[in-house]
């Protein structure tokens, strides 16, 4: 960071506003401002991404000396296609992703709508719904593991009050997905609600007045004015939540009660892609294969985001910005 020195020079040379120094300042200094960011960004942000691509085409296993230079081309990716564990992890990730994203955004929309009233204690209510978002994945998951406990968990006890059977949340595919999705939903609903709220507040009030004059019900107004006006924001939250959901790691890892926390359940029923990649690279030292899982995961995210964008365009009304 050579900035303070340049700064001093700038201040001293103030007496000559234009001229050679001034031109130099205008030409060079922008780069000085972005330099600290881009230096770190290039080394620790961009380079690893490209390097992952390279590693994914090697047969590098950390426990096999000399294997880092073993070029295998697309073999790892070919292997992925027949890997039942990868397919299982992909399926789990998508399933949990849908369960974690859809209800979350619907709840957020409803919550935002409610928060968009003239309210007493507005700040307190907003703080309240955002609070889950500041707690950590690790803490939240451990708390929910207790709440979801089979024998003594509060959630099963509550189900019992309604005469329902206890659920072994970790055991089933759907039950474990639901539990993990609940953790995600709990953490992120308030955050998304605030984003929707901001967008709702910029909807011109006149639209509602006109609709009210036409005799449209509140529900009708919500559906035909609020939701369409929010479409760009909704698209934004769908994409951000999708990216987040496809990367789930800490929740399934700490939710697991298995001896091997990367197994994601007794039959891998909630082993996500991120967990699988980690188990291959950290547990089995397959750097090359683990990198291929990472890249595949990235491509899947890109594909899903692209589908989202296309679908949104189909539904028209996406005038970006």
């Amino acid at each position: 960071m050579a900035l303070p020195a340049t700064a001093a020079r700038h201040v001293r040379s103030r007496s000559r506003p234009s001229g050679r120094l001034g031109r130099l300042d205008r030409m060079v200094s922008p780069y000085l401002y972005v330099a600290p960011f881009f230096l770190v960004f290039a080394v620790f942000g961009l380079f690893p991404l490209l390097y992952t691509g390279y590693v994914s085409m090697t047969g590098w296993r950390a426990d096999v000396p000399g294997s880092e230079d073993l070029w295998v081309g697309l073999d790892n990716y070919r292997k992925l296609l027949d890997d039942p564990f990868f397919r299982n992890a992909l399926w789990n990730t998508l399933g949990i992703g849908v369960l974690a994203t859809l209800p979350q955004l619907l709840f957020a929309l409803g919550l935002a709508h409610l928060l968009n009233h003239r309210l007493r204690g507005r700040t307190l209510l907003r703080l309240g719904v955002l609070l889950p978002n500041v707690t950590s994945v690790a803490a939240v998951t451990l708390i929910f593991v207790q709440l979801f406990g089979r024998d003594f968990g509060l959630i099963n006890w509550t189900l019992g009050l309604f005469g329902l059977d206890r659920i072994d949340w970790q055991a089933g595919t759907l039950s474990s997905w639901t539990a993990i999705a609940t953790i995600v939903t709990w953490r992120w609903t308030g955050y998304n609600a605030l984003i929707y709220l901001a967008a709702m507040q910029s909807v011109p009030y006149e639209l509602y007045e006109a609709a009210a004059l036409d005799g449209a019900s509140r529900w009708r107004q919500f559906r035909s004015i609020t939701v369409p006006m929010l479409r760009p924001t909704i698209l934004f939250t769908v994409i951000v939540s999708t990216i987040g959901a496809l990367q789930l790691f800490g929740e399934p890892m700490l939710f697991s009660q298995q001896q091997d926390p990367t197994s994601g359940g007794s039959q891998h029923q909630f082993q996500t892609l991120a967990l699988y990649s980690y188990s291959q690279f950290w547990g089995r030292f397959k750097y090359g294969y683990g990198a291929a899982v990472s890249w595949a995961m990235f491509l899947i995210i890109v594909a899903i985001v692209a589908v989202n964008l296309l679908a949104a365009r189909r539904l028209r009304g996406v005038d970006a910005e």
């Binding site: 922008p30 401002y33 960004f41 390097y51 406990g149 003594f152 496809l246």
Partner: protein, 280 residues
């Protein structure tokens, strides 16, 4: 403008209040339950019907948690890492955000596009090479700089500051300052920095919380000899006496700093999220 819009908002009926209060209760309950669990014994937590009020064991449990794990070191590490990352991110983001928002230079658009594009890339994509770099090249594995340095360039931070400065600093003001003889750094120092302060505070807060709460990268690159608080939490849940009251105590201790910061700064964070949404 906001104020008039608000005055024209619908009045809230009892139903709205009730629903919102229920939502807030659902949001707060797991944390309340953590306090209950952290102040009880394992046997009490696992009794039927369950206990719902805090007990008397809180300080004893905290003492046990500190005694059995390296929680003191973990808290200090987390504070150090989160604090340093926060200062660095706010600094690099404000500097670069200013350049991208208000300066014209060749390469500006492609550079910005590169940053925005990587915001979409999952952090996990780079984890394996990043670990190889830390372990084999720099020998930083298990050192705090392995957590700090890569976090300094935060694409979201840059984008956030750029978006904010785009609107917060009128170009006319910068032009006028230039005519008055300000060099670029003068503009930054006297015009941009004062205007950027609210956004810097919000970005700082968000960065602090995100760094404090980070789990994946510390799991890979750090060890239990030099843990962050999140690692200690996962240790509490596995290797020790496996006592729910201790686990919940750990969760409480790990969450308290961010919750306290949130209660102090919460309004600004809400404003920040909402403004970011408007512009993003």
């Amino acid at each position: 403008m906001m104020r008039t819009a608000r005055n024209r908002q619908l009045g809230a009926g009892a139903g709205v209040y009730v629903t919102l209060v229920v939502a807030v209760l659902l949001s707060v309950f797991p944390l309340y339950w953590t306090v209950v669990g952290a102040s009880r014994s394992n046997t009490e937590i696992n009794s039927v019907p369950p206990v719902l009020l805090p007990g008397a064991n809180l300080f004893r449990n905290i003492a046990r948690a500190f005694e059995q794990t390296d929680m003191g070191l973990a808290l200090a590490n987390s504070l150090l890492v989160s604090g340093t990352v926060t200062v660095c991110v706010v600094l690099t983001s404000t500097l670069a955000g200013f350049a991208f928002a208000k300066l014209r230079f060749p390469g500006r658009s492609p550079l910005l596009a590169a940053v925005v594009a990587t915001m979409m890339v999952p952090t996990q994509l780079g984890i394996i090479p990043l670990y190889i770099m830390m372990a084999n090249w720099f020998h930083w594995a298990d050192h705090l700089q392995a957590l700090i340095v890569p976090a300094v360039a935060n694409a979201f931070g840059l984008f956030f500051m750029r978006q904010y400065l785009l609107g917060a600093v009128p170009d006319e003001l910068l032009d006028a300052a230039r005519i008055d003889g300000c060099r670029t750094f003068g503009l930054f120092r006297h015009v941009v920095l004062p205007a950027a302060r609210p956004a810097m505070a919000v970005l700082g807060m968000l960065t602090f919380m995100a760094t404090w709460n980070d789990f994946y990268w510390p799991t890979v690159v750090m060890t239990q000899q030099n843990p962050t608080i999140q690692l200690t939490l996962s240790e509490l849940a596995s290797g020790y006496l496996r006592d729910y009251s201790l686990v919940l105590t750990g969760a409480l201790v790990a969450s308290l700093p961010v919750i306290a910061a949130f209660l102090v700064m919460g309004r600004h964070i809400i404003d920040g999220i909402m403004q970011g949404a408007m512009k993003g």
